[in-house]
């Protein structure tokens, strides 16, 4: 019996999945309010329920080809979307030469994608450790200036649950990894859900307590949170956090792109399959900008879950 080396460990997959969500958290305009934290928690619970099949599955299985192409196309869309979010963050933070930075980012992403798959997974563990250390500084710096009563401040506009679905779209990719390594994916999915249900709502609540009644701040609220914490006096901080945000976005882009084409790099490229995935990517992109990303994410997950129970022979 030959022993095969696992492509990724549970901690590596969980790190990369958490960093994908973290990249969105840094780059998107997450509203800081108690209601949004509650919505995050609720969405996390709903997604955990959706992932029950992943938790129950013990043996490897084969994802049907059509579902695989859809998920690959979706990965490509996520990579593009993350890159766009990163550019938006660089512009909002008034970083010097955002276009050139993005060009360098693309070079780094393509280099990361060309590496064997474990490279991105291993890097993500180190990056997540750095992110945890950085986040640990926030409460140390801002505990004295937090106002608990701010948690009861009414939000200016109703918060949507759908945005949280859109920003945690990597959920749809979990079954793809679970097909190859159910045990590691199970643990990774559990940590991802844990981070989404506990760590991120906690950061949102902390931000809410820091920002007081200021709710209609235009721009990235994470910059507002940093500005409110006494550790950083300036609004336009371009130090550790910006580097961390860009690194997370880079890693997420690399991960999504590798999910799209990484498996083909070591094998002869079949134009037909790439073409099908690209077609799906374009369709998904069209739906995202014309319908809603959340609906799309739900559809992708539903499709995956419906199809993955097929026996291996049937999909071959």
């Amino acid at each position: 019996m030959t022993r095969t080396t696992p492509e990724f460990s549970a901690s590596e997959l969980s790190a990369v999945l958490i960093l994908c969500r973290l990249a969105r958290f840094f780059c998107c305009e997450t509203p800081y309010s108690t209601q949004y934290a509650a919505h995050m928690l609720l969405t996390g619970i709903l997604q955990a329920i959706l992932l029950i099949p992943v938790f129950l599955r013990k043996t490897p299985y084969a994802v049907p080809k059509l579902t695989m192409r859809i998920l690959e196309g979706f990965s490509l869309v996520l990579a593009a979307d993350t890159a766009a979010d990163c550019y938006r963050l660089l512009t909002a933070a008034d970083a010097p030469s955002p276009v050139l930075t993005m060009l360098l980012l693309f070079a780094a992403v393509f280099y990361a994608v060309s590496l064997p798959r474990p490279a991105i997974f291993r890097a993500s563990v180190f990056l997540l450790a750095a992110a945890i250390l950085a986040f640990a500084l926030l409460p140390l710096g801002g505990l004295s200036s937090a106002r608990i009563l701010s948690l009861w401040t009414s939000p200016p506009a109703p918060q949507g649950l759908l945005s949280e679905w859109t920003e945690s779209a990597e959920l749809a990719l979990i079954p793809m990894f679970a097909a190859a390594q159910p045990a590691a994916s199970k643990k990774a999915a559990a940590s991802w859900i844990g981070a989404r249900c506990i760590a991120l709502p906690a950061i949102v609540l902390f931000g809410t307590m820091q920002c007081g009644r200021l709710r209609t701040f235009h721009g990235n609220p994470f910059l507002l949170l940093l500005a409110r914490v006494p550790l950083s006096d300036a609004l336009r901080t371009d130090g550790l956090w910006l580097m961390l945000a860009v690194a997370c976005a880079l890693l997420a882009c690399g991960f999504f792109l590798q999910s799209f084409c990484g498996c083909r790099l070591r094998a002869p490229i079949r134009r037909r399959t790439i073409g099908v995935s690209l077609l799906f990517a374009l369709t998904i992109l069209f739906i995202i900008y014309n319908v809603n990303g959340g609906i799309l994410a739900c559809a992708a997950i539903a499709l995956t879950i419906l199809q993955w129970y097929r026996p291996k022979e049937a999909s071959a």
Partner: protein, 307 residues
């Protein structure tokens, strides 16, 4: 791969080693804005280690940046402002500045009396004096973020530091009109509520003798109830930690300051500048419309319980 890495290294060297040309950017220290009416604005800016003021009069608040940059012939960074001085009735430029990312939310600000000359106010070490007043518990800490947050809250009123005749106090403002200048006791009550001071000392007279009281810390909780006539009963539970002085006199002084603060803000104007709305919501009270909430605050009974 080696070629790729070499090319990347060269590109990084070319693109990332360049710095901003500091000759074309200055860091502003003090920014002063004067509003005559809703549309007329004049702005003045003084940079670090620079005695000269750069002034401009843009047509609207939206045109601050280009007007000042044209007048100064240089780009300005205002992320590290040590003071934002305001003069005039309208506070809308502050909201505009925060929205445009010109000032940080924790940037200190000061409203000046219309009779004062902004240049002479800005030239003094006013920023340091203001910080000392906050540190000594004479004024609460108020930044641009607090001001804008309170102005956008249900009652639409906010407190901000006020400077007149070389004296600091607090002004209650509704964004367009200065409603009142608070008394010294009310200012100290506001500072006591925030608990962000270093030393909080005051004196009380007892039996003809003046006793000095120094506080270490002050923790405040609100308990809000409604009586049978829907009247709010706002209990402020204060836990004082004394460094020196008689506890009874400390309680007497703290009660006087807090009562003055609530009387001059909530009772007189229906203003909510200390998270009363949030405290009511926490206590399960449904907060009505802005007008009704202001009315409820005007009629509320304030009780101070010192522990």
């Amino acid at each position: 791969m080696k070629r790729f890495l070499a090319v990347s290294a060269i590109l990084c060297t070319i693109f990332l080693s360049g710095c901003t040309d500091i000759r074309h950017r200055k860091y502003a220290d003090v920014l002063a804005i004067r509003t005559a009416d809703s549309d007329t604005v004049s702005a003045m800016l003084r940079c670090d280690n620079d005695k000269d003021w750069i002034s401009a009069s843009p047509d609207t608040a939206l045109l601050f940046q280009p007007a000042l940059e044209t007048a100064g012939g240089i780009q300005f960074s205002t992320g590290h402002l040590s003071l934002l001085i305001l003069q005039g009735d309208s506070l809308s430029p502050v909201q505009q500045l925060l929205r445009d990312g010109w000032v940080a939310p924790n940037c200190p600000l000061l409203l000046c009396d219309p009779s004062e000359d902004i240049r002479s106010v800005g030239d003094e070490k006013l920023s340091d004096q203001q910080k000392a007043a906050v540190e000594n518990g004479l004024l609460p800490e108020i930044g641009v973020g607090e001001l804008v947050g309170n102005l956008e809250s249900r009652t639409g009123m906010a407190l901000l530091h006020y400077h007149s005749n070389n004296h600091f106090s607090l002004a209650l403002h509704n964004g367009t009109t200065l409603l009142a200048v608070l008394s010294n006791d009310a200012c100290r009550g506001a500072a006591l509520l925030t608990d962000r001071w270093g030393d909080f000392g005051f004196s009380e007279i007892s039996g003809g003798l003046t006793e000095t009281i120094l506080l270490d810390s002050c923790r405040i909780r609100f308990r809000i109830q409604q009586d049978s006539e829907n009247r709010l009963i706002i209990r402020t539970i204060v836990r004082l930690s004394l460094r020196t002085g008689d506890p009874a006199l400390a309680a007497q002084g703290a009660t006087r300051m807090l009562q003055a603060f609530f009387r001059e803000t909530a009772t007189d104007f229906g203003a909510d500048v200390c998270y009363l709305e949030e405290a009511a919501r926490r206590c399960g009270i449904t907060v009505p419309s802005a007008q009704q909430w202001r009315e409820m605050l005007r009629n509320a009974a304030f009780e101070i319980l010192i522990e």
